[in-house]
Amino acid sequence: MTSDHLEPIEAILRPYQGRKGVLLEVFHRVQEAYGYVPQAAMEPIAKLLNLHPSTVYGSLTFYTEFRTAPPPRVLVGMCLGPTCHIRGAETVKDILQRRLGLPASGHNDDNSCGIHVIQCAGHCQYAPLVYVNGEARREVTVGGAAALADEVSAVVARGGR
């Protein structure tokens, strides 16, 4: 996908002209359109809401759900909320990371695969909960982590499909 296919930032922001308290909504819309909130969006958003770009960036980074760089083609979302944590999510994350060969940053160099920590989704009955490209995997215990890693590897090998 080239930038020509993307919706221009001005078009995304237009409906929010003159409205107050819409910063997070704007982030969601931009992330939907681009997959992340790019640096180039800071100035237009700041201007829209009469803020400084640094203030916009501060709010953006406060929320782990928003990305400031293009997402990996295969994105593994790890819940580390209290229930998942108690049921071994940290270890699951370590296993996934090691088996997928991901460095400490959580991303491959070619951005083919990455692991992100996500907010608690509220499905604690299924802990530990792991998302693979938005699709939920329930009760990925320490014992099941290796199998999931192999499955993810296969998806990565197919280029994310």
Binding site: Q39, M42, K47, N50, L51, H52, P53, S54, T55, V56, Y57, G58, T61, F62, T68
Partner: protein, 887 residues
Amino acid sequence: METVTITIDGEQYQVERGIPLVLAAERAGVRIPHLCFHEGLSVFAGCRLCVVQIDGARGLPTSCTTPTADGQVVWTKTPEVLDMQRGVMSLILADHPDRCLSCHRQEHCGIDGICLRDAVVTYRCLTCAKNKRCEFQSTSEELEMHKYPMRYYQERHSWYGPDHQERAVGRSNPFIELDFNECILCARCVRACDEVRGLSCYELTYKGPDSRIDTSFGLPLQAVGCDGCGACVDVCPVACILDKPSKWQGPAQRTVTTTCPFCGDGCQLVVELQQERILRVGGVKAVEGVPMVTCSRGRNGLGYVHDARRLTQPLVRRDGRLQPASWDEAAALVASRFAGYRNGGLGAAISPQLTNEESYAVQKFVRTVMESENISVTGIEGDRALVAPLEAALGVGAGTGSLEDLAAAKRIFMMGSDIVSTNAVAGWQIRRAARMNGGRLIVASPRANEMTKWAETWLQYRPGTETALLAGLLNVMVTESLVNAELIEANCEGYDAVQAAVAGFDPERSAAITGVAAEDIRRAARTLATAGGAAFVYDAGITQHTGATGAVAALVNLALATGSLGAAGAGLFPLRDSSNQQGAEDLGYRGHGGVPAGRALLIAGSDPLATELDRTGWAAAVRAAEFVVVFDSFLTATAAEADVVLPLSSFAEQDGTRTNSERRVQRSRAIIPPVGESRPLWAGFAAIASAMDSKECEFFDAGSIFDEITRSVPSYGGLSYERLEERGIQWPCPEGHHPGTATLFAEGFGSPRVRFLPVAAPDDLRPDDASFPLLLAAGLARVPYHREVLAAREDASTRAWDEELLTLRPDDALRFDLADGEPVTVETPTGSFKAKLALDDSGPSGVLFLRIPVLADPSVLLSGPLAELLDAAAGLRLSPAVVRPTR
């Protein structure tokens, strides 16, 4: 101020009600350790260090978030409090190198003490740039942290932990170095940039253990709009944000507060000195709610006083060359030659940066000893025109309000050049009003700049059409009956004539001339003409263009029509370019600039051959004069042509006063001893006058001259150095107990009546000649145009914000088939010049902007390609033009 009685550690104190307890304690002389609290900034309560025990309160509340209340009983040194504070310090220290702070050997080490074993070399106190001037260090010592074991060493992410990651040091800004490795997340920089400067270059990013201070996407400061003011440097308690030039130069030996010598905002600077040299400059800490202020120019431009090229002794022309001489010899020579030019033979020009005392001395010498009235003030052309109409209409030749009131102004109309560059501190107040205090900002400016970003309405007019725009605004107010008729009826004359004059300027006609949308003109007029009035802020940007001289008169009319005079945060705010332009005028200088008449010339403190727009006229006058005396700190282009050059003390070497744009008379203090044999201007004239056997100019010190000024200028009548010691006072201050006047006409107009000013019908400046389809407008360089800064021209300050010389909109460039960076020839009906073209879309279409450069070497300005440009600029200012590629 309402006071309450509180008890701190068993002692009773009278303190202000409702202020943070930590501040009240500090004012009462009881220190409560704190790191994130800073007077003048909002309360953040992030460091948790200022905890105290309050009888009847649960737990240990932070004293920054606790307002003072009557009968509070506060304990600041109980074992529980101290233990909590040490625990908090230990937590902060876990993420900070602590050997520089808590080393047990510290108390044994002298200045050159041996430090061998206790810490890794890079973490010793001696290796920190902030050593001995670090608030974190002094707080750590205060709590005797070296006596207590650190409690949180084992954290993985802590400074010495295995997961600790170093952040790259930001070294790309010429003035400010960022090293956030030692950051303690007090967020003082975030608040200072946001609240004091109205900008927010910094923000707290991420959260929890990942929190860090950063700019947007970690961009360098200059890329996020930082103007280098250094507010963040002033408030940073650790070694994260530092003045790059003086980073490693250690603490000051002493500090002196003085008035900045550059623009008319007249900020107070805290000058730090070491070995009688200026080490670094900071803003004063908040005084009575007035925030700290300095801009990059005051902060980084003062180093010129130590320049090795300073003149140290008088020079006298012998055998065609300037040669060193003694003061006696030079004064005797000047006296004997001047004797032949009495009674009108001498023309004098002074710099608008001189102190009131110096300006007064020159004037007295020229008027009484030389019996001449030919005195002018050099500097930015059109600066005098900023207040002359105010004198005609209101009887007071000065701005009517206070700059700090602008921050709370409800409606602001701003017209002129890029005010954040020319009068930065006044610009920040307006930015704060617009961004934080709900002020409605209307900016009228041909080009996009920092303030147009924050404006509710930006009226982008074509240069030279100022009066047409203002006539359009007044027309809307008149036709929609928005004017303050009652006030006009009671106090003003001349309204009918003005009403008739603007009758033909309905918004549509005004729009056709100015290029501004008629609807925007209507909207702006309705906003401004609301009860309570508006602040009209303007600078020399509007008086420099031919055909725009009526703009100030039109602004006065608008201020009267909207009933804006008399209320705080409203009125007329001319922003002066020079630190004492206002003072010189208060002392009776009415010269309009330009070359003074006279067979002999006296030029004091300015370098007209290099910095005046009419360089050619000045060069001719200097060469034609029979005898030329120049007082200056440097051997400038003008001084090099003189017969006698006398070494002048800089602002830093003499006492005196300066009067800023808001009529505030402020003390300027001697900071360093005089360089060589340089003298203040008044001392030089005392010597010359005495050599001429005159008793008129027996000046002994600046203080006695100021006393003389207070006797001869009624509005200064109640001032004295003693009264100005703490903070300046705004005139009129007619007698000794008068508190000064923050806002003029607050008590009404009295009599005589004020008058509306006739404004000539504005011209339609659209080019009508098809062979010159563009309009050429010349403007000033952005940052460094004061001659004092020029002296340090090899300094970073002259390079930091270099702008291209000639700019055009990309769409216009397309019409003429021109590319960015292309060498072009600009042709006008009267001549042509060459320049490099830069494309930017900040201006209106069809306008070529030429930046007038004053930053290069004077020799370059007198001959060479820049000279050609300058000549063009001086003659043209606004002219039809065409641009072609140079081939």
